[in-house]
């Protein structure tokens, strides 16, 4: 997916003090880092702060990136994840237990959850519903344990393969797979429970 050679060249130029190269690197990767932070930490302001911290860290430690040991995005994701762990430890998360009932009642019918997700030709109403659905999923994600949350974010939102996720999380691939299964299932249970509460 990533052009390793181009990334390595860009990193080398950054280390040599090329500010344009650094800007290009930030432009290329900030969306990814921001999205991981947003989905893990939950809020846009935390995501913004954390993304800045990630790039400050990268700027200071760029010389330690070894092309031979893996793709740049894997290294970047590892730094992001480590900062998220620190952030999680520092901030005592206040778990919200009451806010998932924002989902409209008409969606809470008996059809399978996966079929209810709007996937084409959204009108204004469907768009609003899709936004509310997105908010509900995002909130449910915040209620997963950090281990399950980070794994499903990397797999289903960042499309990373099992091996790279295992590298980032420093756990065996089997553990990654098991966490993905449990994370997905737990999320579905949380959302289904919410729908049942609404009914």
């Amino acid at each position: 997916m990533e052009d390793t050679h181009v990334a390595a060249l860009l990193v080398r130029r950054c280390i040599a003090g090329d500010s344009a190269a650094w800007e290009e690197l930030v432009e290329r990767h900030h969306r990814r880092v921001y999205n991981i932070c947003y989905r893990f930490a939950g809020s846009a302001s935390d995501a913004e702060d954390l993304t800045q911290e990630v790039f400050i860290k990268i700027y200071r430690t760029l010389a330690s990136y070894d092309v031979e040991r893996g793709a740049f995005t894997t290294w970047l994701t590892t730094i992001t994840r480590n900062l998220l762990v620190d952030h999680f430890r520092k901030t005592k998360q206040e778990r919200r237990t009451d806010s998932l009932d924002a989902i409209p009642a008409e969606e809470a019918d008996a059809t399978p959850l996966s079929e209810r997700i709007p996937d084409h030709a959204p009108g204004p109403e469907a768009k609003a519903r899709s936004r509310e659905t997105g908010e509900a999923v995002h909130e449910a994600l915040q209620r997963l344990s950090p281990e399950l949350r980070e794994t499903v974010i990397l797999r289903d939102l960042q499309d990373m393969d099992y091996r790279d996720i295992a590298t980032v999380l420093k756990v065996p691939e089997g553990t990654v797979k098991s966490r993905i299964n449990r994370g997905r299932a737990e999320l579905a249970r949380l959302l289904q429970r919410t729908y049942k509460q609404v009914i």
């Binding site: 900030h30 993304t51 499903v152 098991s178 997905r184 299932a185 579905a188």
Partner: protein, 241 residues
């Protein structure tokens, strides 16, 4: 197949990367074992929910802030932010100015454009604005609005003043016309016009001169303009708008 093996293959099965005999026995266990069947359904549903989440756009200031806190080198001109705003403004100015400049190059317009510019700068200097002061101008929208109203206020006042002078002059002339013989009156008119053109340095006489060319007869212009504003200040006022 055991439940443990089913769990190990679950994510690959959902990815669609399971096939053949393995897939067959996986599906068979899913049907036979209630717990594993439920897990499969839930995991599939959870994946669909997650896949429904789109990418979130970071705030536009994020890259700028990162660069300020790292290299300290500001962001180059891009498709968004202040720099592109300036770029767009520049493009807009060029789009407006170049057709005007093209028109101004045509001989029949060159004169009027030259006159208009002369008039504008003359009026500005009359109301106390010097072109070299323009670079000290405060360009905040509120400041621009304030100085616009101040300037246009002064233009209006100036315009009222010269209108007053002209009216007095024309009344005096009317009085003289009524009291002096015809021949003498003609001479006086000629003298008066000559003097007027020489003494006025504001640039308006030129405009009035031009206007005079299209005027019928040789009556003094201003006597007939009590309600029709003299061209110059009025035109300048409109230009400022």
């Amino acid at each position: 197949m055991q439940c443990l093996e089913f769990d190990a293959l679950l994510s690959q099965a959902i990815d669609g990367s399971l096939s053949g005999e393995k897939l067959g026995s996986f599906e068979a266990h899913g049907r036979e074992c209630r717990a594993c069947g439920e897990l499969l359904q839930e995991a599939e549903a959870g994946r669909s929910w997650l896949k429904s989440l789109g990418e979130i756009a970071p705030p536009p200031s994020l890259v700028t802030n990162i660069l300020l806190r790292t290299s300290g080198v500001p962001r180059r001109a891009r498709g968004n932010g202040l720099s592109s705003w300036l770029e767009r403004l520049q493009e807009g100015a060029v789009a407006i100015v170049s057709p005007l400049a093209a028109a101004a190059r045509q001989p029949r317009f060159a004169m009027s454009f030259g006159m208009a510019f002369f008039t504008l700068s003359a009026t500005l200097s009359l109301v106390g604005v010097r072109l070299r002061d323009l670079r000290h101008l405060d360009l905040r929208p509120s400041a621009i609005r304030r100085s616009y109203y101040e300037t246009s206020g002064r233009v209006v006042k100036y315009y009222e003043n010269i209108r007053f002078v002209y009216e007095i002059e024309s009344r005096v002339r009317q009085l003289k016309q009524a009291t002096t013989p015809a021949e003498q009156q003609l001479d006086k008119q000629e003298n008066h016009k000559g003097r007027e053109n020489k003494s006025d340095r504001s640039g308006q006489p030129k405009q009035q001169e031009q206007r005079n060319y299209s005027q019928e007869g040789d009556q003094p212009v201003f006597a007939f303009l009590p309600d029709d504003p003299p061209v110059v200040p009025g035109a300048t006022y409109r230009r400022l708008v």
